[in-house]
């Protein structure tokens, strides 16, 4: 699978603030990537630079093999749906859909109309009079119906109720299966999308903490609980990210290269072991001192001794 996006040593500095700090990664074609991180981590800045809406301070980016800035061939294959998107105030919902139809080469009008029905968008209503949720739904309709080979969703669900969010995930997955494309989904509702995401990128304070297949990550971080001594013993095989103690028992989140053998080992130590959810992993990595030290990639297991 070829890389649709390649980023090398990307840095973005605003006056006194480093929004992105030497970020490098690539995005494989036809996958759903989860771009995760806390508020202000640099997710939106990253997507703005990749879509040529903002400028990098240093570093190299390549989208479809070229730099996206003022590059019509690249830009026409990208759809970037962001929570903060504004619309000209005189436009109605139907105007926005017509505008998107004009601009996106892969636009599917029938699909757009179907989605607008699904999300119960009032076609004739002025965009300024839409509720926050409806505005998000409009963005989602545009993003999905554009069928752009590279689609960014930057927290597209703001104000959407649980039903509409589920509808979004369902339609995203269904349409992605039928029309494979590269999708980047930036979200805070990690548990909701953890089944959807195939590849995880985690940024914190402008740095890339994780760049890993979701499947591989699931076995990498586990939570063990039991007697303190046994937890200590088990933690030695990985990087401890978090620990909560209560009397003689402890509960620790540990990152390492855990296979089936680890489960046997935990059982023999008398420990309960469970794979951490994606949300737990993200929370523990971004709040742990060891999260940054462990770095991105799968080298964590190798330097476990050094970290301890």
């Amino acid at each position: 699978m070829s890389a649709v996006v390649t980023v090398r040593d990307l840095t973005k500095r605003y006056r006194g603030v480093t929004a992105l700090d030497g970020v490098s990664f690539s995005l494989a074609e036809h996958r759903i990537h989860g771009l995760l991180g806390r508020n202000g981590a640099g997710k939106t800045t990253l997507m703005q630079i990749l879509t040529a809406q903002n400028f990098a301070t240093s570093g190299e980016i390549s989208v479809f093999g070229q730099h996206p800035y003022e590059n019509e061939q690249v830009l026409s294959r990208i759809s970037f749906i962001k929570e903060s998107q504004t619309y000209p105030s005189h436009l109605r919902v139907t105007h926005v859909l017509r505008a998107a139809r004009l601009v996106y080469p892969g636009w599917d009008e029938e699909f757009a109309q179907r989605l607008a029905d699904v999300f119960q968008l009032p076609r004739g209503r002025n965009v300024r009079k839409l509720s926050r949720g409806m505005l998000s739904a409009l963005g989602i309709v545009v993003g999905l119906a554009s069928r752009a080979p590279l689609t960014f969703f930057d927290e597209p669900y703001l104000g959407l109720d649980a039903v509409s969010r589920q509808l979004f995930y369902d339609h995203l997955l269904a349409d992605y299966t039928e029309h494979p494309r590269t999708i980047v989904l930036s979200t805070h509702l990690i548990d909701e999308v953890s089944d959807l995401i195939e590849h995880v990128l985690l940024i914190d304070q402008g740095r890339l903490l994780l760049d890993v297949e979701a499947e591989a990550l699931r076995g990498q971080v586990v939570t063990v609980s039991g007697p303190v001594a046994a937890v200590d013993e088990f933690s030695r095989t990985g990087t401890e990210l978090h620990r909560a103690s209560l009397g003689g028992t402890a509960r620790a989140t540990v990152r390492g290269d855990f296979g089936p053998a680890a489960y046997d080992r935990a059982r023999s130590l008398g420990l309960g072991l469970e794979a951490s959810s994606l949300q737990d992993i993200v929370v523990r990595l971004t709040t742990s001192n060891n999260g940054h030290a462990a770095g991105a990639g799968s080298a964590a297991a190798a330097d476990k001794e050094a970290v301890r």
Partner: protein
């Protein structure tokens, strides 16, 4: 270029308000003036100009500011390049200038033929006959649309790139520059020479030539500014 055409079409998706506002306001201004002139019943030799024509040009400057503050973030959000957005706007403005200029010219001709709409009102014509040539008269209507359009774009772009501080800085520089020139001209006693220069200029230069030149300069500066603007 295809993409620029798309942008020009993009700005017409809500065409009712794009076309409706300028002509609606002009029509309103015209009706009020017409009613006023009918009520006044002035003598035949008195033919004042209403100045109501200005309204459509004011709407143009508002629309061009909107183009940067509202259409620009929308178009870039849809994956349009800055260059295409800019060219699309130029096409859009030029199209408007030509079509609106032509309509205004026709209305001015009708106004003359009907003796000021039967009530001696000069709404579309200018009081002093600057130019007689039909093409130049048409350009006299069309070029100011372009000039005001690019003034609006330039001001909005300064705001877009450098924020309120940029606008304040621009105003400060403009004030200091113009004020300084006025002081200099007064001190050196240049005013009669300046007045003479304006008087020597042919009508077409004042109405068409200089505005066109200024438009070109603003268009060039705006293009350089928009290349690094972020939505």
């Amino acid at each position: 270029m295809n993409r620029a055409l798309t942008v020009a079409r993009l700005q017409f998706v809500g065409w009712r308000s794009v076309v409706g506002w300028p002509w609606g306001i002009l029509a309103l201004s015209f009706s009020i003036n017409l009613a006023l002139f009918s009520a006044m019943n002035e003598a035949d030799d008195f033919e004042p100009t209403t100045g109501g024509l200005m309204s459509i040009y004011v709407v143009m400057i508002v629309a061009s500011i909107n183009a940067i503050t509202q259409e620009f973030p929308f178009a870039l959000g849809l994956g349009v390049s800055r260059r295409s957005f800019y060219l699309g706007n130029v096409l859009h403005f030029a199209g408007q200038a030509v079509s609106y200029g032509a309509v205004l010219y026709l209305l001015a001709v009708i106004e003359e033929a009907t003796d000021g709409w039967g009530v001696n009102m000069r709404f579309f014509g200018v009081p002093f006959p600057l130019v007689d040539h039909p093409v130049l008269r048409f350009l006299g209507f069309a070029i100011p649309f372009l000039l005001l359009g690019f003034i609006g774009i330039a001001i909005a772009l300064v705001f877009k790139r450098w924020g309120v501080n940029g606008l304040l800085m621009l105003s400060t520089v403009a004030l200091a520059g113009i004020g300084g020139l006025v002081v200099l001209a007064t001190w050196q006693g240049w005013w009669s020479a300046i007045g003479g220069w304006f008087a020597d200029q042919p009508g077409w230069a004042l109405l068409v030539g200089w505005p066109a030149l200024l438009t070109l300069v603003l268009a060039g500066l705006s293009y350089l500014t928009i290349r690094r603007a972020t939505p």
